[in-house]
């Protein structure tokens, strides 16, 4: 029977040779192949539009399933980027013993300014500290009720930019701790490390969500395609009877999967963008509070490609699995 196939192929090639080339200069058989692909792509889209409600629901569910991990991812990315712009301001706060006066504090600050590894040392007096706390913490009224100032004076120290190695930083901290005026020393980047640890955990969760929701997308597309297969039962049986290969029968369904994935992915991209637009105002306000020029970053081109690409791939794979599984049941009898 291989001979029958060969003969068919030979017959088609002969047709191609006999017939003139087409307008695009493509050989006839290739033109026929391209025609078929384009026709199927168009036809499968037309089919989607024939049942608008069902199609929209499928696309919407895919979009929502992808929007959740994608927006979570963008959120984490932004927190990470925003915090790294703050990281440059590597600050040490030296809290003086509470009994010491502002004058002693000023002297300490003067001495520290001359330290070879310190770029700047500035005294924040007890009063200035309380003022800051009142204006930023939101506890203004409660603090008003205090009849004494519980805050110590603080020397805010900015190390030289050359001081980057953790060991050197640690050494400077140890030196500061040994000063007799020191109550305790705090490296303000410590919270950053904690934040990063939390973000790493969050990022892993995004990965897990992504995998679970991708499986969800696979099932949604699969189920939609399964219904479509049932609706087109008669057509498939007839196509098989007149010599359609499984590949031919599978093709429109794979294209339908493509469309669901593509539309769902694109809609997810839009939803993520709307989500970010919604956050833009408050995040700008937050950046201003930190004196940071940071602006919210959207999905990058490669992330967009990944989102839509993954969605398309899930659509096609979902369709493939279902068609491969059900095609055997549709043999003519």
């Amino acid at each position: 029977m291989a001979r029958i196939k060969q003969k068919t192929r030979r017959g088609r090639n002969a047709n191609a040779v006999r017939a003139r080339r087409t307008n695009n200069g493509l050989p006839n058989w290739l033109q026929a192949y391209v025609d078929l692909q384009v026709e199927t792509l168009k036809a499968s889209f037309v089919r989607l539009r024939r049942t608008p409600l069902a199609s929209i629901m499928t696309v919407l569910v895919i979009a929502i399933a992808l929007t959740i991990p994608a927006s979570f991812h963008v959120f984490i990315k932004n927190v990470r980027q925003a915090s790294s712009t703050l990281e440059a301001t590597n600050q040490i706060s030296l809290f003086l013993k509470p009994e010491l006066t502002n004058e002693t504090g000023a002297k300490v600050a003067e001495t520290l300014k001359k330290h070879p590894q310190i770029a700047m040392a500035e005294l924040i007096t007890k009063e200035a500290g309380l003022q800051d706390l009142k204006s930023y913490s939101g506890f203004g009224d409660a603090l008003q009720a205090l009849d004494f100032n519980p805050l110590p004076a603080v020397v805010s120290i900015k190390p030289k930019d050359s001081l980057t190695r953790p060991d050197d930083v640690e050494q400077l901290l140890a030196e500061l701790r040994r000063l007799p005026e020191t109550d305790f020393v705090q490296l303000d980047t410590e919270w950053m490390h904690k934040l990063h640890a939390i973000l790493t955990i969050a990022q892993r969760s995004v990965l897990v969500f992504s995998i679970l929701l991708s499986l969800g997308v696979l099932f949604i597309v699969g189920n939609t395609i399964r219904l479509e297969l049932q609706n087109r039962r008669e057509e498939i049986v007839v196509a098989k009877l007149i010599g359609a290969t499984d590949r031919f029968i599978r093709r429109p369904f794979l294209y339908a999967g493509f469309w669901y994935g593509f539309l769902g992915g694109t809609l997810a991209w839009l939803l993520v963008s709307f989500f970010l637009l919604f956050l833009r105002g408050p995040s700008r306000h937050l950046a201003e509070l930190y004196g940071s020029p940071y602006t919210l970053s959207f999905l990058s081109l490669s992330e967009t490609e990944l989102l839509i690409g993954a969605s398309v791939l899930l659509g096609i794979i979902g369709a493939w699995i279902v068609v491969a599984y059900h095609l055997r049941e549709l043999d003519p009898t």
Partner: protein, 219 residues
């Protein structure tokens, strides 16, 4: 062209449907397959496009044994056949043109070639003017003509028709049979299953008679 050698077909639930069928259909021949319903006509026709496979015996098509055709090769075998059904089996959501074009679409013909051949086939069955209609807007006789156009559009070497006039009144049936006769006169090979003996007798063609799965008359 088509040769059955001791072919038997048995279903586990209904026993032997065909037993030891032997016949040889020559190229360019037109033959009728008759018998009561349940005699095995449909089953016999289903063995040729491998809708069913025989339990025993050999079927040769174009000199080659079709038992050896693998599942993947079945579509290529079916493209050499033209199948006509009692219930037409048209796709109601496609126009007459698209229905007839289906075998060419499946085989990968270009659009130009397809349009040319579809119009030629519709012309032969006298439905050229109705190519844009949908099947349900046509009469039964016209629907069967669409089915016939679909079966000849890819110029198959053998046409198999299973009760093609089963749903039609005598006048329309005769028209359909005349159409088959015309095809036969230009060299098409046909095997037509029908229980309408009055109609068959008018043509004086070779008749294979099945009775309870046995070939009881040939001539």
């Amino acid at each position: 062209m088509l040769q059955f050698i001791n072919v038997s077909k048995r279903y586990s639930d209904s026993g032997e449907i065909l037993s030891n069928i032997c016949f040889h259909l020559e190229k360019g021949e037109m033959a009728f397959l008759t018998g009561h319903s349940g005699a095995g006509k449909s089953t016999l026709l289903k063995l040729i496009p491998l809708i069913e496979r025989p339990n025993r015996g050999q079927i040769l098509f174009d000199g080659r044994p079709i038992n050896a055709v693998s599942k993947r090769q079945v579509p290529y075998l079916r493209r050499k056949l033209g199948l006509i059904f009692q219930d037409y089996r048209l796709l109601h959501d496609r126009t007459v043109f698209d229905n007839v074009a289906l075998p060419l679409l499946v085989a990968g013909y270009s659009q130009q070639e397809t349009a040319r051949r579809v119009r030629a086939a519709l012309d032969k069955v006298g439905l050229l003017r109705k190519e844009k209609r949908y099947p349900l807007a046509l009469s039964g006789g016209e629907q069967q003509r669409v089915g016939i156009a679909r079966a000849i559009v890819h110029k198959p070497s053998l046409i198999l028709a299973d009760e093609p006039t089963g749903n039609l009144d005598p006048g329309l049936s005769a028209e359909i049979m005349d159409l088959f006769k015309e095809f036969n006169q230009v060299g098409v090979t046909l095997l037509i299953a029908s229980h309408d003996l009055d109609l068959i007798s008018r043509f004086g063609c070779r008749t294979l008679k099945l009775q309870q799965g046995q070939l009881v008359a040939d001539g």
